[in-house]
């Protein structure tokens, strides 16, 4: 069980809807509180940014946020966020919009670099122009930060079982609690940490093992309730198995007849047995590479 330590989330985006009253109060000039963000989310028209609007709502109404475990703060631009960091507020996760109306994208690159240098936060670079960004991130200077930097397309629903916003949501909630209410393809999902999937992000392993369409169909059958029992059944229902040679310490993909023959592996393990005995990462490895050492 993880200890429930509160975390701070910085959401940096220059396209929060404007609200006349908020402008008058100078709300946008400093860190925007989660109450103000939520007010904007439920009362303003976010137009093409409705994905971000939903993300804010989902974070604010989540149980961890209600229990004071998530401190969500908004910033109209990275400079205000950097000022807050100077004042001693340390974010654990940053959602960083890439575009701030700057003529030169290297400015955004430099601001991102400052955030990486000044914090230990995990940063989601989150943008409508995602495909233009790798040219700026795939540089030597970013390599040292690669383990806490990911790139997502705003509003993308087609690249993974999670939309971009759903991925970010499960990551944030997963940082404060093992059992979370997340979303997959717009459906509410009750996730309980279990023998098979330690954290919600492990659902990506299931997607790669079983395929997205099959997984979605199966999740619908279990009414998106993810726990020990449902995932064991889901794995068993797939009828998937792996060949096993304990003496040689090998797991072998059944699609590798030559290796099965040469290693004389006859024993079979079901997918759920492989995950129970080893891990879901090991099951993915053997399916991806054909053979895995155990």
């Amino acid at each position: 069980m993880m200890e429930n330590k509160p975390i701070t989330i910085f959401l940096i985006d220059d396209e929060f809807p404007t609200n006349a009253e908020f402008i008058e109060q100078g709300v946008y000039d400093n860190a925007i509180s989660y109450e103000h963000l939520y007010h904007l989310a439920i009362s303003e028209n976010w137009k093409t940014l409705h994905f971000l609007q939903e993300l804010i709502k989902d974070i604010v109404v989540s149980i961890p946020c209600k229990n004071g475990l998530i401190n969500l703060m908004g910033f109209k631009n990275p400079s205000i966020a950097l000022s807050s960091i100077d004042e001693g507020i340390t974010p654990d996760v940053i959602i960083y919009d890439w575009e701030y109306g700057m003529s030169n994208p290297t400015e955004s690159q430099d601001l991102l670099l400052s955030l990486l240098k000044l914090t230990k936060a995990f940063i989601f670079v989150y943008s409508k122009v995602r495909d233009e960004i790798p040219a700026f991130l795939n540089k030597k200077i970013f390599i040292q930060y690669a383990s806490r930097l990911q790139l997502f397309l705003k509003g993308s629903t087609s690249h993974s079982i999670f939309s971009s916003e759903e991925f970010i949501l499960q990551y944030i909630l997963g940082k404060v609690t093992d059992n979370v209410k997340i979303k997959i393809q717009g459906f509410d999902v009750e996730f309980t940490s279990n023998t098979f999937l330690k954290k919600a992000g492990d659902i990506l392993y299931l997607e790669r093992i079983l395929g997205r369409i099959y997984l979605l169909e199966e999740l619908e059958k279990i009414q998106f309730d993810i726990n020990n029992y449902t995932i064991e059944n889901l794995l068993n229902d797939s009828k998937g198995f792996i060949y096993f040679n304990e003496e040689k310490g090998l797991l072998i993909n059944p699609d590798e007849p030559a290796i099965i023959k040469s290693t004389n592996a006859h024993e079979k393990l079901s997918y759920s047995q492989v995950v129970k005995l080893y891990s879901i990462a090991k099951l993915e490895e053997v399916l991806e590479k054909g053979v895995a050492l155990i």
Binding site: P134, A146, L149, Q150, S160, I259, G290, V291
Partner: protein, 175 residues
């Protein structure tokens, strides 16, 4: 860089498409977003020659070699270099080179097709530059690995020596 000569090509051919030797994988089904291009990685892709270390050169320690069972055919991404012999020569890249377009599948690092740009190649695998002075090589690549013959495996490592890499040692073949 020493290009492949006719004898080497004669053994290593034919050039294959990614996954062509895989029993069940295809480009359409198994190549994810961010795995088809190589233009962003041109600075990190090393055209192997004269025992020169590739960019982001890092050595695997003897302890890591044992812990990750490299000699038995195991892998260790943080110290792994991916290699491919394409139509011209050997190309090498550190596996942990960031590839942010693979973020959505939870694997934001490069793969073999990021060396070739999803083009054809003869053969590929992993290599580890070890603190003991050896370079440990295997043929683990679901896109360009699993060579059909021992002759091809031998020729691939001979070619590495031909371009100047020293102390090439093969690990146990899992394929």
């Amino acid at each position: 860089m020493p290009k492949l000569n006719a004898k080497q090509i004669g053994v290593l051919r034919p050039l294959i498409n990614p996954f062509e030797r895989s029993p069940n994988k295809t480009i359409d089904k198994d190549l994810y977003e961010g795995e088809q291009h190589n233009d962003e990685f041109s600075e990190q892709i090393h055209d192997g020659v004269e025992n020169h270390p590739p960019p982001q050169y890092t050595e695997i320690t003897l302890e890591e070699l044992e812990e990750h069972r490299i000699l038995e055919g195991g892998s260790y991404r943080e110290k792994c270099f991916l290699w491919v012999i394409d139509a011209l020569s050997i190309k090498i890249i550190w596996e942990d080179t960031p590839n942010f377009l693979r973020s959505s599948i939870g694997k934001p690092w490069v793969c073999h097709t990021n060396i070739t740009g999803c083009s054809q190649a003869y053969i590929g695998g992993e290599m580890y530059f070890c603190a003991d002075g050896n370079i440990y090589v295997n043929f683990k690549s679901d896109r360009y690995g699993r060579p059909e013959t021992e002759e091809k495996r031998k020729m691939a490592t001979e070619y590495m020596e031909y371009v100047g890499y020293k102390n090439i040692k093969r690990t146990k073949d899992l394929f």
